[in-house]
Symmetry: C2
Subunit: 122 residues, 2 copies
């Protein structure tokens, strides 16, 4: 089992999931928009992810190329599962009900989910 990914680390992972391998500078550049971190910050986060064995680094001359060891789908599955377990007793329908109450479901969403469910029953 891999260790916890913090919020800031998650931002780094998103960059690596979008494309990899990348150097620290690449990652920093991709995150510059949203987060405005210094390159040092990005390097620290990469080191921590490396220590947690959530990414791997391959040496390329003087620098490293980083790549994810954990797939985005695995991460997303874990996080979704945790939320469901913590807040909804592991059941999805209360979540759907909750989101409906928040008006976070568009007609398109509803149609899409219905199609998905129909697929599942088939």
């Amino acid at each position: 089992m891999h260790e916890k990914i913090s919020e800031a680390e998650h931002a780094v992972m998103e960059a690596l999931w979008e494309q990899s391998p990348l150097t620290a500078a690449d990652v920093a550049e991709r995150l510059a928009a949203g987060r405005g971190w210094s390159i040092q910050t990005v390097k620290t986060l990469l080191s921590r992810l490396l220590a947690k064995e959530i990414i791997a680094a391959e040496q390329d001359g003087r620098r490293f190329l980083y790549r994810p060891l954990v797939g985005r789908d695995v991460y997303v599955a874990g996080e979704s599962g945790k939320l469901l377990d913590r807040l909804f007793g592991g059941r999805l329908s209360p979540l759907v009900a909750q989101l409906a109450k928040q008006d976070r479901l568009s007609a398109d969403d509803i149609a899409e989910i219905e199609a998905l469910l129909k697929e599942l029953k088939a």
Copy 2:
């Protein structure tokens, strides 16, 4: 806007959402099963929640009776929304797809969600 509720604090909140008002000792007793915290730990968490104005305390003789200031539904809505935004671009259908892939949807779940959606369209 209220502040962040940590994992440990969330456990305390669940006790208070289930019943309130409660004394620190009551809360500790209810959490004894799952977490096995010392009473001091529970008191610290209550103090922190109080400082964050997530709960309120009403004095009752020498001790306090604690009650939530933030409803469970509000908390749950916030957490669900954050997860959806962070991992699914704010859309629900990819989450459903994800959970389906994990086999976390029983036939009952599917039926229930379909009923919910039908309701929403009406």
